[in-house]
């Protein structure tokens, strides 16, 4: 079931948490809402779930073709997972998972055996078959997260909404669990929106990334697209490192659509080619001031000869060894491919 949010505005007092936001999540896709803290991700997710309402007369939410703007959360068919799981602490894992089925009206409630079978099936799905009798306090963070997910799935929601699902876990569990979520999504193809402020997480598992900043959607696209072709300086800076190079700069490729006037070019450190000055190639003359070679990629800081600042360059270790680069060496810089400049900031 697709989700369409149109022109959503939300204010708290005189603070605008969402400013005319539009969002479309195609049916069956896994979408990441990515943005810095306070950008409005959780608020948007809660509005989609119906836990919060957009400002009067601002916009509407569609699930498929159905307008759910005024449908209460319990009737929307959403599975919502909170960052801190919000498991019912007085209920066992199995009872937690069964909760949504047990609270149904008598006419719609499955019988005991059906509920038990469904719980068993879900416990299998989250790979916790043997832990149905445990209480939330007796589980690890990653296990709790999966129980919360199973509980949301038990009612067969039309869409799944996850607020920083891995936010409270350590790095290793986090990586394992996000792969698990990706595989899991590939199996069941439930329309899923997950919130994160970890760009690596978003780029790794999402079909599409929605980047939010200051109550607005900045850019939407598949991971590679938003990484390679950011449309705003914010996105450029938010997704990985970027040099802001003051123009004019002779490191740009001549003849591309880049203006050589005043302005700023945004270039990622690994998109810059570095050669020794005596090779006599095209490029901007500069001098190496610092080499940081721990790890697979060497980070080199280079000072422009025209005095317009420092440029960070990333080189492979093999290349660094091959050209025997030393601090103080004179070099030439040139971009590998056309770059974005000056977004009319």
């Amino acid at each position: 079931m697709s989700i369409t949010a149109t022109n959503i505005t939300k204010t708290f007092g005189n603070y605008t948490a969402l400013n005319a936001v539009n969002l479309h999540v195609p049916s069956g896709k896994l979408i990441a809402l990515l943005g810095p803290s306070g950008s409005g991700k959780t608020t948007l997710l809660r509005i989609i779930a119906g836990l919060e309402f957009a400002d009067q007369g601002s916009g509407n939410i569609l699930f498929g073709d159905e307008d759910v703007t005024n449908v209460p959360p319990g009737k929307r068919g959403v599975g919502f997972v909170f960052q801190h799981y919000a498991l019912f602490r007085h209920l066992s894992v199995a009872e937690n998972i069964a909760f949504g089925l047990k609270v149904r009206k008598r006419a719609e409630r499955p019988d005991k055996a059906t509920i038990a079978a469904r719980v068993k099936e879900l416990l299998h799905l989250i790979q916790l078959e043997d832990l149905g009798g445990r209480y939330p306090a007796q589980l690890s963070g990653g296990q709790r997260q999966r129980v919360a997910l199973a509980r949301a799935l038990a009612v067969q929601p039309k869409v799944l909404l996850l607020d920083e699902p891995f936010g409270a876990l350590d790095a290793k569990v986090r990586r394992d669990l996000r792969r698990w979520l990706r595989n899991f999504h590939d199996e069941i193809h439930l329309t899923t929106v997950f919130v994160t402020h970890d760009q690596e997480e978003a780029l790794e598992i999402a079909d599409e990334v929605v980047i939010m900043n200051q109550a607005r959607v900045e850019q939407v696209g598949i991971p590679q697209e938003v990484y390679d072709r950011p449309t705003t300086p914010f996105v450029h800076k938010f997704l990985g490192n970027v040099n802001q190079i003051v123009l004019p700069w002779s490191g740009l490729i001549p003849g591309t659509n880049v203006p050589q006037e005043d302005g700023i070019a945004f270039v990622r450190p690994h998109d810059i080619e570095l050669v020794h000055f005596n090779t006599g190639r095209d490029g901007d003359p500069a001098q190496v001031v610092d080499i940081h070679a721990a790890g697979p990629v060497a980070k080199v800081a280079v000072k422009r000869n025209d005095g317009k600042g420092i440029v960070d360059v990333e080189l492979s270790r093999a290349y660094l060894d091959q050209i025997r680069l030393r601090e103080g060496d004179h070099v030439l810089l040139r971009v590998r491919r056309p770059v974005a400049t000056d977004y009319a900031i």
């Binding site: 959360p73 319990g74 909170f82 919000a86 019912f88 602490r89 609270v103």
Partner: protein, 323 residues
């Protein structure tokens, strides 16, 4: 042993042998403090309690039980039980509702409401009692002498409204009822005692629940709602189980206060023997009449209430700690 090894082991040994004086105070100081605390507890808390029982049993067990055969004593016990049976459940409902509203919703005037909940703790019980006298007394706002004045401004409209429904026949008896002196037997009667008791014991439940529910947040309730539970189901299946021990704790404290309240109740009760005396008031009356065995015998009931309360309280605390 090489010199290097020595330099490494020496500081390690030094750390091990260092007296941990900053954690453990000298023994004599510890024991002095403990004895002081014990002595204080003994003389100010335990001794009086023992004295109550000793005094009650001074003339033997027979005299002790005779005190409970007095019909006025039985009436006092009954009134206290009735008052408690009404005011504790009422405060459970008010307290849970207030705590629920304060912790699960945002609304204007929330901090004012929180302050208001503490009011009964802040005012002297005597003042609380006097407020009820002011409100329900003979010339009080809702007192019998003031009913007509109170309704005067709305009377014409009310008459029109009633006539509009063809209910004129109601007006006569209504006016009669309103002018009767004893029409609202609040003061010097059970309703007044119950109201005063509710007032003074209100904060216990709410005060106990608010921090607990605040710490638990709203996420579990919101989850229940997204899973399709209605408000009732959310309350019974999620909120209540989460607060049950805190609620129990609040209830026993509220109960102890409701049974033991003296000040506010003494102002509104009128102290009519056998009618409007609660246990604490009855103890006072007996004592003033130099019937000290009777007074202390009744007082043992309140003392036992205190002991049971403390045991129940420790039990809940232990239960809390286990979680």
């Amino acid at each position: 042993m090489s010199p290097v090894a020595t330099t490494i082991t020496t500081p390690a040994l030094a750390v091990d042998n260092r007296p941990r004086s900053h954690i453990h105070d000298p023994a004599w100081l510890r024991w002095t403090l403990i004895s002081l605390a014990l002595l204080f507890l003994l003389s100010f808390l335990l001794l009086p309690l023992a004295a109550v029982f000793a005094e009650a049993l001074r003339n033997g067990i027979k005299a002790y039980f005779a005190a409970f055969e007095d019909s006025d004593a039985l009436a006092a016990i009954r009134l206290t039980l009735i008052t408690t049976a009404i005011s504790v459940p009422a405060n459970v409902v008010f307290g849970v509702a207030a705590a629920w509203a304060i912790t699960k919703f945002d609304f204007r005037g929330k901090s004012f409401l929180i302050t208001l909940i503490d009011l009964p703790f802040a005012v002297s019980p005597v003042i609380a009692g006097l407020i009820f006298v002011l409100v329900f007394g003979r010339h009080g706002w809702f007192g019998p002498g003031n009913m007509e004045h109170l309704f005067a401004p709305i009377a014409p409209g009310f008459k029109e409204f009633v006539s509009g429904y063809g209910l004129d026949w109601l007006l006569g008896p209504l006016a009669e009822w309103m002018n009767e002196p004893g029409m609202l037997p609040v003061l010097f009667a059970t309703p007044g005692i119950v109201l005063a008791t509710i007032f003074v014991s209100f904060p216990f439940v709410a005060r106990e629940l608010i921090p607990l529910m605040q710490a638990q947040g709203r996420d579990e309730e919101l989850t229940a709602i997204t899973l399709g539970a209605n408000g009732w189901q959310t309350f019974w299946r999620v909120t209540l189980p989460n607060i049950k021990w805190g609620l129990f704790y609040g209830v026993i404290l509220c109960n102890a206060r409701a049974m033991g309240e003296f000040g506010a109740v003494s102002v509104v009760s009128g102290k009519i023997r056998g009618e409007t005396n609660t246990l604490p008031l009855h103890v006072e009356i007996l004592y003033n009449e130099y019937n000290s065995v009777g007074a202390f015998a009744i007082a043992t009931l309140l003392a036992m209430l205190a002991i049971v309360t403390l045991i129940a309280k420790s039990f809940t605390e232990w239960k809390f700690a286990k979680k």
